[in-house]
């Protein structure tokens, strides 16, 4: 499942996975909500075509971190950022970079499914049109629904049912399809299963496993077992700092930092 030969590193050295090429890299990334520092000099390379899980106790900065990767925090007042987020070696916070384009190429799925109150078809087609796609819309909708493992369940109801008519698990896969429709390279998932039952969760986890063939996935989860099941690499955050990053098997079988071991064995958090 993971490349065992790869070395695990702990901060403050730049957390990297060595053998894998990284597509996205946080470099000395810090973030403040007003005077409150939420991220403290995070340096982390996200390996391409792998699933990277971010774990840590509530308030450790994991959601803040992934929202920083595609500039979602721009929308929050009083947020200040220092450091860099390099996507294909270009800083997404560079003045010349269009944040809308960043969010298209680095898509996001949220904790609670948030489909539009429109038809299943329109849930995808709308985003496509907004992002400048005007041809082969039906084809793109089908492809995205197939990639999100939802096509077979909804193909006969594309225009009959709305996104809200679907079950919670289907709604979340619809949101994943919506993110995939605009052809991102990276998919950020912020606790995508926390509102789902175990069966729907299992389907999303299987889907994440499939998605890494074509996409790079970063998933925030408060569920350590989920991180262990779905990810290739795991980063442990605590109090806004990256404590440890490495292959998931090593993190869960032989973490190098005591804080990590204490957290994953339930001694705190």
């Amino acid at each position: 499942m993971v490349a065992n030969q790869e070395e695990m590193r702990a901060v403050p050295s730049p957390a990297t996975t060595q053998a894998d090429s990284s597509i996205l890299e946080a470099r000395e990334l810090s973030l403040w909500y007003g005077k409150q520092r939420a991220l403290d000099r995070i340096s982390l390379e996200v390996p391409e075509h792998k699933v990277t899980a971010i774990i840590g106790p509530s308030g450790c900065g994991k959601s803040t971190f992934i929202r920083s990767l595609n500039r979602m925090n721009d929308l929050i007042p009083a947020v200040r950022i220092s450091g860099q987020v390099l996507f294909h070696a270009e800083d997404v916070y560079d003045r010349h970079v269009d944040p809308v384009e960043v969010r298209r190429r680095i898509g996001m799925v949220f904790q609670k499914p948030n489909p539009f109150p429109k038809s299943i078809y329109e849930n995808l087609a709308f985003g496509l049109r907004v992002n400048g796609y005007h041809t082969r819309i039906s084809e793109r909708v089908e492809l995205a629904l197939r990639r999100a493992a939802l096509w077979e369940e909804v193909k006969d109801d594309l225009r009959k049912k709305t996104g809200l008519d679907l079950s919670g698990g289907q709604q979340q896969r619809l949101c994943i399809a919506r993110a995939l429709a605009v052809e991102p390279e990276v998919l950020l998932m912020d606790e995508p299963c926390s509102a789902l039952d175990p069966i729907a969760t299992a389907k999303i986890e299987d889907l994440i496993h499939e998605l890494k063939r074509d996409y790079t996935v970063v998933i925030v989860t408060h569920n350590m077992q989920q991180a262990a099941r779905v990810s290739d690499f795991t980063a442990f955050f605590y109090l806004g700092r990256l404590i440890e990053f490495g292959p998931t098997a090593q993190i869960f079988e032989n973490p190098s930092r005591k804080e990590t071991e204490d957290y994953i064995t339930g001694k705190f958090g």
Binding site: M1, P198, I199, A202, K203, E205, D206, H209, Q225, A228, R229, T248, A249, F252, E253
Partner: protein, 225 residues
């Protein structure tokens, strides 16, 4: 639960254990052939073969550890992993015993005490039981596992009979030992033959263990763990 990749990993674990078992089976047959044909080269080649078996055991242990740490298996899946851990240890020990059997062939004069053919028949029973235990594991066949366990009584009886026959011969031969050198040789040969019988009996015992682990995996009966 869907968890397709997890299911594939579990299926892969079954195949890996079975494949390791097949290799151990081949090694056991090599050991028996070395004994039958007094083939020193074949006997000596078993050491290197044993290292590859040990390596397989380590790899399967790692797979089991990863599955436990990363997938949180429960119920039948958990029992499979517990069983696989133990079966791998049994197989690794059978491999060590196969090496021993090969090494006994280097003491050819030991087998004047009992007909070598009788010893090889014990080997046949043990390797047949090993084969059945592996098939029972791979095909999830509780009945076949129980049948293999039942054959152990036959094996134990044959081992007992052979030991008795051998000791009777030794007592008779010892009467004719004129020098302490001759007596020592008889004692040495006796030990070699006793160990070879004991090792084949142990192979059968390990196959009983493999069957028991399989039954535990499939039925959750704690008596078989």
């Amino acid at each position: 639960m869907v968890r397709e990749s997890y299911r594939q990993q579990l299926d892969g674990l079954i195949e890996s254990v079975y494949d390791m078992g097949q290799r151990v089976m081949e090694g056991l047959k090599m050991g028996l052939r070395a004994l039958r044909e007094h083939d020193r080269t074949l006997a000596e080649s078993l050491d290197e073969w044993d290292e590859t078996v040990d390596q397989s055991a380590l790899e399967i242990d790692k797979t089991c550890t990863d599955l436990l740490a990363l997938q949180q298996p429960v119920a039948v899946d958990l029992r499979l992993i517990i069983s696989a851990f133990k079966i791998v240890t049994d197989l690794e020990r059978v491999a060590d015993l196969a090496v021993n059997v090969g090494e006994y062939s280097l003491v050819s004069e030991a087998f004047v005490l009992v007909p070598k053919e009788e010893l090889l028949q014990l080997g046949e029973i043990a390797s047949g039981m090993l084969s059945d235990s592996l098939e029972a594991f791979r095909t999830k066949d509780v009945a076949r596992a129980k049948q293999a366990i039942a054959r152990d009584r036959v094996m134990d009886q044959r081992c007992w009979d052979l030991r008795t026959e051998m000791l009777t011969q030794i007592i008779q031969r010892a009467k004719h030992a004129h020098t302490s050198e001759q007596a020592k040789r008889i004692a040495g040969n006796t030990i070699t033959v006793l160990w070879s019988i004991r090792d084949l009996e142990r192979v059968a015992d390990h196959t009983v263990n493999i069957c028991a682990r399989t039954i535990y995996w499939l039925t959750a009966n704690p008596e078989y763990i």
